[in-house]
Symmetry: C2
Subunit: 520 residues, 2 copies
C-alpha cells in the first residue's frame, strides 16, 4: 500500500537513498523503505509551489473552504489504516490517535468555516475626501497570502501537528501553497495523509504545487527547504535546538523570512494557598495524571509546579506520589526522545538541589517511567537551568517559602506557552497580583485546570514569548493562526472593477472597517 | 533654551562627550552641544522603561488616549520654535515642516481615537461547553503590549517619523514604553519634542520610564539599545544597511526580538499605453514634480518608471525633462545623504546602460540637482542593480519593448513599499494581468497617482516585502501599525472578576468575536 515515495506537486518520486520507520515499542525498523528527498526534490517542490501560488492565492475563499473540507473528508476516510500505522510508528494509543484524527479534520473544517465568515480578510475602506488639503485618497486594505510555506511535521502529534496539522491547515486557509518536511518518526502516517491531501488537490482542480511532502531522516532536508528562495515563511513545532537552527537559516537568507517555531515550555502551575488547603489531594492526583498523559510528550506538559511549603503542599505531594505510583511505563515516540528524556532526568537526579520523590511503574525496556522531583524555592531561584524543559513524563515540584518567592521565580522565568493558577475565591487577591506577571510570561493563562489539552477555537493562543515560540505575536492553534501567513495590501484610488470583490462598494455581507467604524 | 541633555525617564542627563547639529544649508555645526548618551544611560533608560511597563501597559485605553492627546497638544504648542529649529537642522522648508507637525499631532490623536474605538484589542470570547467530550473550556483572548520598544528617529521626517512619530505613537498606543534613539541630524528638534512628551508624561501622572530620548552621533548607541535585554521590539526607518544591522543584532540576542525596519524602495511606476497616449504631457510634468519633491528624500520616491517605447513615451520624457529643468536645486537633509546621493548618481552616470536625459537647476554647492536617466528594458532586466535605491531626487525611466518586458522586470524586482499604475479604462485588461504581480511586490498599489504622499489612516499600508521592510506583515503608517507592538493572550476558565474588563460577560460596547460571530 505505502510506496515510500516523496509527493512532489502531485507526482510520486523515489531516490537512491532510503530510511525506514522505527516501531516505537520494539525499537526495530519496519517496512517499507522511504526515499530520502534530494536537493532536486526540494527545488522542484518549491518551484511547483511558487508556480501554483498565484492561482491558489487568488482562489476565492469559498473555494479554498471546499478544498479544506475535501481534504478533511479524505483524511477521515483513511480510517483504521491510518490509526494502525500511526500507532506503530509513534507508540501512541489507539484512542488518542483516533481523537487526534478528529482534531485534525476538525481544524481543517474550522478554517473552512472561518474563511467563509470573511472577517479573516480584515477588509478596511477609507473613502476619499478630494476637498481636503492635501486631497485624501480612497484607500482599501485586505490581507493576501505571504507565499509558499514550509511546514515541519512534529513528532508528538503525528496527525494534528504534522502533514495536515495546524500549520498546514492555517497556511492553506491563508492561500499559501505548502511544502511539508515529514517527520522521519512517522513516514507512513505522513504518506497516507499526503495521499489524502493530494487527492483533494486533484479533485478540486487545483495545481499540484499547492501541496508537496518531502521525506528525510536528517537535518539537511529542512535546511535546504528553509533556505530555498521560493519559501516565504516557516511553521515548526519541535525542539528548541531545531527551532533555533531554522531561525538562524531564515535570518541569514538574502531575503529573510518569518519562522513560526513553537519550541520549548515548562508551563508553570501555581498552587495558591486557599485552593491548596481545600483540595490538595484532588490536585495531587490530577497533577500525576497531567504530567504523565501521553508519556508527558506535550508542549504543554506541567513541568514545573510551584506551591508554598506546609502541610497542604505535603498532602499534595503525597497524593501525587500515590497516584504516580499507579502510572504504567509508557512507550515514547522515538528512541531519540526516550534517550533525551533519560539523559535529562539523569542530570536532574544528579543535581544536588533536586530530590526524587515519586515514580511511576516500570523501568528500563518497558518504557519511560513517570517521575516527580522536588526542589526548594531558594535552590530553584538560584539555578534557572532547573527550569529547562525535559520532554517527557517528569515534573519538578518547587517548594517555596512564600508567595513572594513564587512571584520572584515567575518574574525571572523564560517565556512559556501557558501559566496556570489553582485558586479559590480567597486567593483572588494573590491572583490579581500575579496576573500581570503571568500575562507577560505566557500566551495562555489558565485558571483551575491543567495545561495539557489545547482547544482548537477562536480565542485559543498556543504561543508565547521566546523560547516558547520564536514570535510572541502568533498562535499556532486556533483560527488566529491564519494571521501568521497573511500580509496586508492597500489599494489606492483603484477603479471598482479592478478591486478585489470584498473591497468593492457593493461587497455584500463582508465585515469591514469603513472610515474607522466596523460595518457588516 | 536647549540643554543638549538626554531625557532618561523624565530626568535630564549630560555626559563627557558631545556633538553638534549641522546646519543643512551651510554644512556648519551650530550650538548647543548635545551630550552623547553613555552605556549607562542606555541601561538606565531601558531599566526605567521595564519598570514602568507594567503600570503603563495596564493603563485603561481611555487613559492612554488622554496621554496621547496631551502629548499632541504640547507638540502643537511648541509652535514656530520647533519649525525654525527643524528647518535649520534638516534644510526642509517651513511649509513642509508645519505640515509635518500637523501630521505628527494628527497621528497621535488618530491613535487616541482608535484606542477608544476598542476593536484594536481584538477581543474574542469562546464560551464553555462542559457537556462536550472532552469538555470545552471558556477561552477569552485580547491583545497585550509586547514590552518596551526602541524607536530610531528617521532623518527624513524630523517630526512625523522621529521622536514622536509613527513608531512612537503606535508603540505608546499599544501600551509599550518607548526609548527613542534620536537622529543625530536633528538633535535640537528631538529635544524640543522630547520636552513636550515628557511634560505630557508628568501631567498625566505616568511613570517617567514611559518615555526616554537618547542622543548619539554614532552607531554604538543604537547597537547597545537593540541588544538591551529589556527591549522587546524595534521600530526603524532608514537605510538598508542600517536596518540590516539592527535585524542582525536582534536575531543574535539570547532572546531574539522583532525588528520593524522600513528600509529601501524604488516604487515602480508603470505607464500603461492607453493612459500614456492620452496624457503623456501631464504625466511627464507630474513625474518631475514627484521625483524632486522634498529633494526626493521620501521612502516612496518614484525611483523607477516603466513604459513601452514609442511616441507617447517620448512625449512623456520630453515633458518630464522640460518640467525638471525648472526645478531648483535643493538642500539635502545631511552632508552624508548628499554625498551618498552624488555617489549613487555618479555610479549610474558611469553605467554604460544609463543615459542622462534631464536635469534640474543648479549644481555643486547650491544643493542636489534633480535628475532623470533612461535605460532600455533589456539593459534594466539584465542588470538588477539598476533597481537599487538612490536616496534623493533621481529617477530612471525604463523604456521597454512591450508590456511583457515590463511584467518580466516587475516579477524579478525586490519587495517595494508601493507600485503604481497609470491607466485609462482601455488599459484595464493589462492592469488585471499585472495586479497579482504588484500585490506580491508591494504593500500599496496605487492607481493614477504618485507614490509620494502617504495618508495616515486605517487602510494605509506603508510596508511591503523585504527589503522594503524587514517584516511584510506590518505597516509603519496608519492605525494597523499598532499591531506590530501587540501580542495575543488567552485566558482559560478565568473567574469574571479576574478577567480584563473588555473580556468580562458584561463588557459594554466592545466589538468582540463571540463563538465565531462578530458582536458589538
Amino acid at each position: 500500500m505505502l510506496t515510500g515515495q516523496n509527493f512532489i506537486a502531485g507526482a510520486s518520486r523515489a531516490s537512491d537513498s532510503t530510511f525506514r520507520a522505527v516501531d516505537a515499542a520494539s525499537g526495530q525498523t519496519f517496512e517499507p523503505d522511504f526515499y530520502e528527498a534530494t536537493r532536486a526534490d526540494v527545488a522542484d517542490a518549491c518551484e511547483a509551489a511558487a508556480a501554483a501560488q498565484g492561482s491558489y492565492g487568488a482562489l476565492p475563499a469559498a473555494k479554498r473552504a471546499v478544498f479544506l473540507r475535501t481534504a478533511a473528508a479524505k483524511i477521515d476516510a483513511l480510517g483504521d489504516q491510518l490509526t494502525q500505522r500511526a500507532m506503530r510508528e509513534s507508540g501512541l494509543p489507539e484512542a488518542r490517535l483516533n481523537g487526534e484524527r478528529g482534531r485534525t479534520v476538525g481544524q481543517l473544517r474550522m478554517f473552512a468555516d472561518y474563511l467563509e465568515a470573511g472577517h479573516w480578510q480584515r477588509a478596511r475602506v477609507d473613502h476619499a475626501d478630494r476637498e481636503r488639503t492635501p486631497p485624501k485618497p480612497d484607500l482599501r486594505l485586505r490581507m493576501v497570502p505571504l507565499g509558499p510555506v514550509a511546514v515541519f511535521g512534529a513528532s508528538n502529534f503525528p496527525l494534528a501537528f504534522s502533514v495536515a496539522g495546524g500549520d498546514t491547515a492555517s497556511a492553506l486557509a491563508a492561500g499559501c501553497c505548502v511544502v511539508v518536511k515529514g517527520h522521519p518518526a512517522h513516514p507512513g502516517t505522513s504518506e497516507l495523509v499526503a495521499t489524502a491531501i493530494s487527492e483533494a488537490v486533484a479533485e478540486c482542480g487545483l495545481p499540484g504545487g499547492v501541496f508537496s511532502l518531502l521525506n528525510g531522516s536528517g537535518n539537511a532536508l529542512g535546511e535546504a527547504l528553509v533556505k530555498d528562495p521560493r519559501i516565504a515563511a516557516v511553521g515548526f513545532t519541535g525542539s528548541r535546538g531545531g527551532g533555533l537552527a531554522l531561525m538562524e537559516y531564515a535570518a541569514a537568507r538574502s531575503v529573510p523570512i518569518p519562522v513560526f517555531a513553537e519550541m520549548s515550555s515548562v508551563n508553570p502551575v501555581i498552587l495558591l494557598p486557599g485552593r491548596l488547603a481545600e483540595a490538595a489531594d484532588t490536585l495531587g492526583t490530577a497533577y500525576a495524571g497531567s504530567l504523565s498523559l501521553g508519556a508527558g510528550q506535550f508542549c504543554t506538559n506541567p513541568g514545573i509546579v510551584l506551591g508554598v511549603k506546609g502541610a497542604a503542599l505535603d498532602r499534595f505531594r503525597t497524593s501525587a506520589i500515590e497516584a504516580l505510583a499507579e502510572v504504567a511505563a509508557q512507550t515514547m515516540l522515538t528512541p531519540a526522545i526516550r534517550k533525551a528524556f533519560e539523559s535529562g532526568v539523569g542530570a536532574l537526579a544528579a543535581d544536588a538541589a533536586a530530590t526524587a520523590c515519586g515514580k511511576g511503574k516500570g523501568d528500563g525496556e518497558a518504557g519511560a517511567q513517570a517521575q516527580i522531583y522536588t526542589v526548594s524555592g531558594d535552590d530553584f531561584f538560584a539555578n534557572p537551568a532547573l527550569a529547562d524543559e525535559i520532554f517527557g513524563p517528569v515534573s519538578i515540584l518547587v517548594q517555596c517559602n512564600d508567595i513572594n518567592e513564587i512571584h520572584a521565580i515567575l518574574k525571572r522565568m523564560e517565556g512559556q506557552l501557558t501559566a496556570t493558577l489553582h485558586m479559590s475565591q480567597t486567593d483572588h487577591d494573590i491572583a490579581k497580583a500575579l496576573l500581570p506577571t503571568l500575562e507577560g510570561l505566557a500566551g495562555r493563562v489558565i485558571a483551575n485546570g491543567w495545561p495539557t489539552g489545547v482547544d482548537v477555537t477562536h480565542a485559543m493562543v498556543h504561543g508565547g514569548p521566546f523560547p516558547a515560540t520564536s514570535d510572541p505575536r502568533s498562535t499556532s492553534v486556533g483560527t488566529m493562526a491564519i494571521e501568521r501567513f497573511l500580509r496586508p495590501v492597500s489599494y489606492q484610488d483603484m477603479p471598482q472593477e479592478l478591486l478585489p470583490a470584498e473591497l468593492q462598494d457593493d461587497a455584500g455581507g463582508v465585515v469591514r472597517l469603513v472610515d474607522g467604524g466596523l460595518q457588516k
